[in-house]
Amino acid sequence: MVKLLSFEKSLKPLYEELKEKRKNAQSTDYIEEKIAETLKKIYSNLTPYDIVQIARHPDRPHTTDYINALFTDFLELHGDRKFGDDPAIIAGIGYFNGKVTGVIGHRKGRNLKENLRYNFGMAEPEGYRKALRVAHLISERFKAPIITLLDTPGASPTIGAEERGQAEAIAYNLQELFNIPTPIVAIVIGEGGSGGALGIGIADKLLMLKYSIYSVISPEGCASILWRDASKAKEAANALKLTANDLYKLHIVDKIIEEPAGGAHRHREEVIQAVGKEAQKALNTLSRLSKKKLLEKRKEKFINIGVYNE
């Protein structure tokens, strides 16, 4: 049974019943139908903070799941050639629908041990430098497009990361990714945490799963600063407009990838395939552009963001 989120608590008795029935080898059709119905009801009426929780659900498919399912012959590449190899970023090349494609993403773990190793998906400077190195390699050598998968609480805030220049690494990525000569499609698959996500998020098309988030700061962080009370995260999540729907309305996101009621963690296969399909669609439109046009458009896309009075 999947871990139930706080707003899904009403499902608990149903799931228990289901378990019971399965144990007794009774028919479960009715109860399953009922669960689906309840889920639909719950998921049609989610608050932004509920979506934050779905985006962070431990069973949500992670970057590695997408790579395993969508790529064949994936070859992982390591190291930034400068200081280290950050396991929190996975980067490599493989076949995506039969075409050579690069992929870069944040890596999260499934259990505590893995999570400690991957630092909960929070990348160090060498992770960002690796991402840029591989992006250059894939685009310039293999002339292949790149898919980036964003799923991180943010860049790693540690003493070591500051020493090795977390800010510089992200800043340099932001600058250099504008010079990558092949199409880049970024997909937010879970948490898009601030600069940590943006560091590999410069792209020609930004897609987002319906129950994922992308924000300048975590709602908890925002609450503790602006409300001076971390428990006001709900309000902060509302105010920050961090869901896919909101971001689409703000013209930040190019396309929302639908998730069925129940979220990606209940429909892993389905969602992974949907992501693959949308990514392919985006790549198809982008591959028609010339290199010059592509770079121009990428710059245009970001340089025109902003709301101000004149």
């Binding site: 300048v216 105010a239 920050l240 961090l242 703000l250 902003g306």
Partner: protein, 282 residues
């Protein structure tokens, strides 16, 4: 970002004109009383202990740019409220308060001026305006500054003092990081010289975008510069931070700055760099 919380901790006193020309000011670092005029003449550096008081953008401008040569650009730009953001105080109110207190319309002044006779484009962030945070207006002003500097073949100086991205604009403020980086990228590709000056404090999204991308990065003495706020790091690592953590000297040691300068050396050094740049053809 997290800088807002810190304001209580890091003491960065601002002294406005109303404070009076004749008043005595207590230095927050050494505790000595200083006559305001004396402080002002000393570029707002404590004559006793060398503590660098915070400057408003206007004061910084007066210190760096030759008198009566500054021509401001895009002064009319002001913030909108795209998210209709409301915390304890709504973003609208916050903006009004900031405008009233600092007498400027956004957290950055941009324009063109002469520095010891050398023409230069310059942008100066004002920490007094919502922590100098990076929002849409700043992003747009920097973009226009870089584009115009590129067109007029001017070197570009940006003086940063900022808490990071402006939360109240949500994702749009995050995207300003990408936007400013793209603008700087185009400017540099055209062969322009970009000097980034980082003063106390520069954090978060600002450091992680245009402030770290200088061809030459210079920090003012005593500046705190970093990505994540020290409190966040302390909480996460559950460890006391080293004493000089995120100080300008710390960054110099780790290779991210070209020089750490006292305030009085800032203008001469900038003019020195511009003089090296002077003879070159595009």
């Amino acid at each position: 970002m997290s800088l807002f919380r810190k304001r209580k901790k890091i003491v960065v006193p601002v002294i406005t004109k109303e404070y009076g020309e004749n008043k005595w000011i207590r230095c927050k670092s050494c505790g000595n009383l200083i006559y305001y005029k004396e402080l002002k003449e000393n570029l707002k550096v404590c004559p006793k202990c060398g503590y660098h008081f915070r400057l408003t953008a206007q004061e910084r401008l007066e210190q760096i740019i030759d008198k009566d040569t500054f021509e401001e650009w895009d002064a009319a730009l002001s913030s909108d409220d795209p998210l209709k953001f409301k915390a304890l105080e709504s973003y609208k109110e916050r903006l009004e308060r900031a405008e009233k207190n600092s007498k400027i319309k956004s957290a950055i002044i941009t324009g063109k001026g002469k520095l010891n006779g050398y023409d230069t484009a310059i942008g100066i962030l004002d920490f007094g305006f919502i922590g100098g945070s990076l929002g849409s207006v700043m992003g747009e002003k920097i973009r226009r500054l870089a584009e115009r500097a590129s067109k007029e073949k001017l070197p570009l100086i940006i003086v940063s003092a900022s808490g990071g991205a402006r939360m109240q604009e949500g994702i749009i403020s995050l995207m300003q990081m990408a936007k400013t980086a793209a603008a700087i990228n185009s400017y540099k590709k055209g062969g322009g010289l970009y000097i980034s000056v980082l003063v106390n404090p520069t954090y978060g999204g600002t450091t992680a975008s245009f402030a770290m991308l200088g061809d030459i990065n210079i920090a003012e003495k005593g500046a705190k510069i970093g990505f994540a706020g020290p409190r966040v790091i302390e909480q996460i690592m559950k460890k006391k931070l080293p004493k000089d953590f995120q100080s300008a000297e710390f960054l110099l040691k780790h290779g991210f700055l070209d020089a750490v300068l006292e305030r009085k050396l800032l203008k001469p050094t900038l003019s020195q760099i511009l003089s090296y740049y002077r003879g070159k053809k595009w």
